[in-house]
């Protein structure tokens, strides 16, 4: 559904329809009680939207800027919803079902797990460097002191990847004939979702209010 929504948002080019779809998305966000995480997510996306808006305004005109910023915001929200409601394991299971080989599907779900681990390491590195008198206070100084942070992080990430690979091998990662405890299945709910998506997509293409 997320992909269909993205295509939809790409083909809408009136600010009214974009605002309307953003409104619908907001309702979904609120229905799923994701208001607070969404605001947090907006903190990150907001800055990108703002710069995008300025650039588009300067390069084209105000209307283009408004439309494309709204579109960016809406697409961002769609993916926010997608990742909030789909655990990485379900995603990799779906990919498996689609015939993607196991190692690829696994890497996708596992790599998302390690984002918080690496973020925590980065926080440790930043503390360690600040404790030596290197003035990393956030904002621009983060950029000027990039090697101070990136150097240790990269080294640790490489080491981590090696250790992870070992640990996976030691639990039979490479074995042929893996059998899943919960076999991923396509249920009627999923078929319904696909059906509705297709119908909406076809309607959108023929609609005059794009």
């Amino acid at each position: 559904m997320a992909f269909v929504a993205t295509i939809l948002l790409m083909i809408f080019h009136q600010w009214t329809s974009l605002t309307a779809s953003l409104g619908i998305l907001m309702m979904v966000v609120l229905l799923l009680h994701l208001g607070l995480p969404w605001l947090n997510f907006l903190k990150g996306l907001g800055f990108a939207c703002f710069t995008f808006f300025i650039i588009a305004w300067l390069a084209f005109d105000l209307l283009t800027a408004v439309v494309s910023t709204l579109r960016l915001l809406a697409i961002g929200t769609v993916f926010f919803l997608f990742f909030q409601t789909t655990p990485p394991e379900a995603l990799s299971n779906a990919l498996l079902k689609m015939g993607v080989p196991y190692p690829f599907a696994f890497v996708l779900s596992a790599s998302m797990q390690f984002v918080p681990v690496l973020v925590r390491r980065l926080a440790n590195i930043r503390d360690a460097q600040r404790a030596r008198g290197i003035p990393i206070e956030g904002g621009l100084s983060l950029l000027t002191h990039l090697p101070v942070l990136a150097g240790p992080l990269l080294i640790q990430a490489f080491k981590f990847a090696d250790e992870l690979a070992e640990a996976m091998e030691a639990r039979g990662f490479g074995i042929p004939g893996r059998r899943f405890r919960h076999e991923p299945r396509f249920r009627w709910m999923d078929w319904m979702a696909v059906g509705i998506s297709v119908v909406v997509l076809v309607m959108a293409f023929w609609s005059p209010y794009r």
Partner: protein, 547 residues
């Protein structure tokens, strides 16, 4: 035989020295073995060879044969060996790669291709053994260190290997979690699983093993029952001997007591109770008067409170650190020790209360300014190394603060044995050398206070001795040392002031003997007095009884 090494030699690709050098070894089913040795003696490589990661995963040069449960490891890939021998690695973060604890435990079972019922049965068995019942739905990376260790163990146990290997499992655990893990291992032993444990600190597990193997430069230097091995001259192999054995050796006594009762029995048998206790008490007295609490304060914390996401982490923290003191900060994992030390240089700021350094309020001063006075040596030296050479790495701090003093830095290079390494890249050093670089880097700005975060974790006896020497030198220079540690034996020997933290509050503050005498506080913080202290108390009690 569950495990047999026949003349095994191995070296990693691109290295010159042999990690394993002509190793012969056999292990009977159900036997439990402690493998000890200095850093780089080949302990971890031996573990990897048992499950085929060496040579299949690491490649490199290999001769000889290893049989696990009758299978020749060179003929079978790792995914055929892992059901026979399971290894719990040192780094718990890197071996937990699933969404929930439950799927972590199931992963290996899915690899085995087991039927549904069998999976459920083993899942229940392993979760009960590793005491994971209420954690099953949680994501592993949000758990505490001790819990992660249990998940890693559970995920291996579920495979029901006949040989279980644990690589330094106690390194990051507090005393209570250590006891918990020991309890689980005793159950495994009673289930007939063969155990191999790698550890420097012998006393952590010596009571529960049948046999000790000492490795030195990839060879077996000693092999036998704990008592046989302790009887041999093994102090050069980087082992941290059990505290009472060490005490008896220092005093030139015969006997290798592992417990206080053993020690007293030994002393009675040798008819040495009176002279021994007199000597011991005299030493204890000397240690307690060697430091006077009259020097000026360097840190004053007044009523510090700090909360994280609305939860109080530190509450009404109040203490003073004096110039030239060596202070140990002890307590459970997750009780606020790290949060507290991060206040010392402004990485975290108190939500209420005051922290003064050299009499001055710190609230509005930036970290970079406070770091002139407070140096940090973190547990993981890899968190800070980024320069192309060791020399530049050490000089980073002084250059950032504009306080480079050439003669002091030369003195540091000398003190930490870095002169021959100055032009090397810090990334190519061994972990022990990296640790020394991070020491020198922290001291290069001449801080009045230096904080050592778990300095002994994962370090062998050779490093511990060096560390003890460094601490004495720092104190002689009138610098204050703060040790954050679980290693009470080390803290009792090398700190003259203890701060005990429990649930975000300081519940005991004073000289180690006074703190250990406060049994209520010790219990509350999950700590147990050192064996040496217990022995002194027992001897005092005997004297009183006589009188």
């Amino acid at each position: 035989m569950i495990l047999r090494f026949e003349g095994v030699s191995y070296r990693y690709p691109g290295t010159e020295s042999w990690a394993l050098n002509g190793l012969d070894l056999t292990l009977r089913p159900g036997e439990s073995v402690l493998i000890a040795g200095a850093s780089g003696s080949g302990k971890s490589t031996l573990c990897r060879a048992c499950i085929g990661l060496v040579p299949h995963f690491h490649h490199g040069e290999w001769t000889g044969k290893v049989f696990v449960d009758g299978l020749d490891t060179s003929q079978h890939p790792v995914y055929e060996l892992f059901r026979h021998a399971g290894l719990v690695f040192q780094n718990t973060d890197a071996q937990l790669f699933n969404q929930t604890v439950e799927s972590e435990l199931t992963y290996g079972l899915e690899s085995l291709g087991l039927a549904h019922g069998e999976i459920e049965q083993r899942l229940n068995w392993a979760s009960r053994l590793a005491e994971l019942g209420d954690l099953m739905d949680r994501p592993p990376h949000l758990l505490s260190g001790g819990e992660k260790q249990r998940v890693a163990l559970g995920s291996i146990l579920a495979l029901r290997p006949r040989l279980l290997l644990l690589d330094e499992p106690f390194t990051h655990l507090d005393p209570e979690s250590t006891e918990g893990l020991r309890r689980i291992l005793r159950v495994m032993k009673s289930e007939g699983m063969a155990l191999i444990l790698v550890e420097h600190r012998l006393h952590e597990i010596i009571h529960d093993v049948d046999r000790i193997i000492v490795l030195h430069q990839g060879k077996i230097a000693a092999d036998g029952s704990p008592d046989q091995v302790l009887a041999r001259e093994i102090s050069d192999y980087g082992l941290n001997l059990p505290p009472l054995v060490r005490l008896f050796r220092q005093m030139g006594l015969k006997g290798r007591p592992l417990s206080v009762e053993d020690a007293i029995k030994e002393l009675k048998d040798q008819n040495l109770v009176t002279p021994f206790s007199a000597r011991l008490l005299e030493e204890a007295k000397k240690a307690s008067i060697s430091f006077s609490r009259t020097s000026p304060p360097i840190i004053e914390a007044e009523d510090i409170c700090f909360s994280y996401h609305g939860l109080p982490v530190l509450q009404n923290i109040h203490f003073k650190l004096l110039r030239g003191e060596s202070v140990a900060l002890v307590g459970r994992n997750g009780t606020g020790k790290t949060t507290l030390i991060k206040h010392l240089n402004g990485l975290l700021r108190p939500h209420s209360g005051h922290l003064k350094i050299l009499g001055q309020e710190t609230l509005r001063r930036p970290v970079s300014e406070l770091s002139r006075h407070v140096g940090f040596v973190w547990q993981n030296p890899n968190d800070q190394l980024f320069q192309p050479t060791v020399r530049e790495e050490v000089l980073t701090g002084p250059e950032a603060l504009g306080s480079y003093d050439p003669s002091w830095c030369d003195e540091l290079f000398n003190r930490f044995g870095l002169i021959s390494l100055l032009k090397r890249s810090p990334f190519t050093l061994s972990e022990g050398q990296k640790k020394r670089v991070s020491f020198a880097a922290a001291l290069a700005v001449k801080p009045e206070l230096i904080v050592l975060d778990e300095p002994t974790a994962g370090q062998d006896e050779l490093f511990r001795r060096e560390l003890a020497k460094f601490i004495v030198e720092l104190q002689r220079e009138e610098r204050t040392v703060v040790l954050v540690t679980h290693d009470l034996e080390f803290a009792a020997e090398h700190a003259n002031h203890w701060l005990v933290l429990a649930n975000g509050r300081i519940i005991a503050d004073g000289p180690p003997e006074a703190v250990m005498a406060d049994s209520k506080a010790m219990t509350k913080a999950g700590l147990r007095p050192t064996q040496r202290y217990q022995l002194i108390q027992a001897l005092k009690g005997m004297r009183k009884n006589k009188a």
